[in-house]
């Protein structure tokens, strides 16, 4: 029972309160880049959910059973410093897989995501989740829930942002604020709004 409440706590914390984009400022690149249309944003969010969830699981397994292996540690070989390079390797392979899958099954989404799809590799949210899970000393199940919750938080943030940006299109924005400027201002306001959750 206690584990369940811990898991729910992690899920709510990272999906809403400590939102990955709006309060941890990870994954800003696709958040600003692919949030022009709601459908594309949802597609990006879906791809990120897939990559982060699977990546957090695989990196968790690799860290626990290979890099921080008890037997290796006892022999005096500490491989934990390899985590960044190994995690990036796993993430890059996963993104490549997602890219192949989308190209085959949803070509329209593949086209609209464009360069941002391979850029999930360098989406710091993905690597951030994998590394933070180690820092927070989560076990495997907690790591996966943490990854999923973070990704859902990213999905929520990017879809909300896309919805707002679609409305912004119809507004009369002063010239100096047009384009990226108004998007950043919007992101800041959304961030402030999400900060409100931390008081709950």
């Amino acid at each position: 029972m206690e584990t369940l409440s811990t898991l729910i706590g992690i899920a709510i914390t990272y999906a809403i309160v400590n939102n990955v984009v709006l309060s941890q400022f990870l994954g800003i690149c696709p958040f600003l880049g692919v949030s022009k249309k709601t459908e594309t944003a949802a597609g990006m969010g879906g791809a990120v959910i897939f990559v982060i969830t699977i990546a957090s699981f695989i990196t968790g397994v690799i860290y626990k059973y290979i890099l921080a292996n008890e037997a290796l540690l006892n022999m005096g070989i500490d491989l934990t410093y390899l985590k960044t390079i190994v995690f990036i390797l796993v993430i890059a392979a996963l993104v490549q897989f997602v890219e192949m899958f989308l190209k085959k099954s949803i070509p329209a989404l593949y086209k609209s995501l464009g360069v941002y799809l391979p850029l999930i590799t360098t989406n710091c949210a993905v690597l951030g989740v994998a590394l933070n899970a180690i820092t927070y000393e989560y076990n495997l199940l907690e790591t996966v829930v943490y990854g999923l919750a973070t990704a859902v938080g990213f999905f929520i943030a990017i879809v909300l942002m896309a919805g707002i940006r679609e409305k912004i299109e119809y507004n009369d924005i002063p010239k100096p604020f047009q384009g990226t400027a108004i998007v950043l201002v919007t992101a800041a306001l959304m961030s402030i709004a999400f900060m409100g959750f931390s008081g709950m």
Binding site: I62, L67, L82, L89, F97, M100, K103
Partner: protein, 264 residues
Amino acid sequence: MEILIAAGAAAAVCGILALLLGLFLGFSGNAFKVEVDEREEAICGVLPGNNCGGCGYAGCSGLAAAIVKGEAPVNQCPVGGAPVAAQIGEIMGVKPEAGVKKVAFVKCAGTCDKTKNDYEYTGIEDCAAMAFVPNGGPKSCNYGCMGYGSCVKACPFDAIHIVNGVAVVDKEACKACGKCIAVCPKNLIELVPYDAKHIVQCNSKDKGVSVTKACETGCIACGICVKNCPSDAVHVENNIAYIDQEKCTGCGICAEKCPKKIIL
């Protein structure tokens, strides 16, 4: 020694992991292979690349895909015409049928000196805006070219211009993409064969009396052309003469007999 072991272990872990991931990607690459027809890319290269949409497909790549699938004939591209059709035919291994070259034609000869204006208009120079103006524009004739040049702006090939208040198509530059046809609110523009000799230069569906009041050179639907045509190619429908280009032999009797000299 310890350093060597540590380095060896690190190299082994990274190496094996990379190998496994590489194998995984290799297999999934095979499983999710997307078959791209080489001919499609080749046809894309041959097509003009304006993406004008004159063929009825979404851009040149859309047409290329349709041609490869066999949904569109190789001479579907109106812009490229016969030379492009021949090249595509080579790629597809079929002989293109000789397509009739078409050009756009504006069915109005009501230049400034031949028509009257009911009132003076100052405002946006745009044909579509005339829908909000009394009588559909200042021109006395409600069917004729208003000369505000929406078609000129729409033409991607600089083939249509306003000359003396009426849009005129440059037959040589026109690629028959149909952009002007879509944009003309009066439905004045039509595709006609490049070598069509005789075309009725009027679109007025008004009765003869009102046509005469509005324009010196409008079709009054008198029917003289119909009676004189030896090959049954001219007909009057809705108070306007129309020449069937497939039946027209180009004898020119209709143009000669037309009292308003409206047949080209």
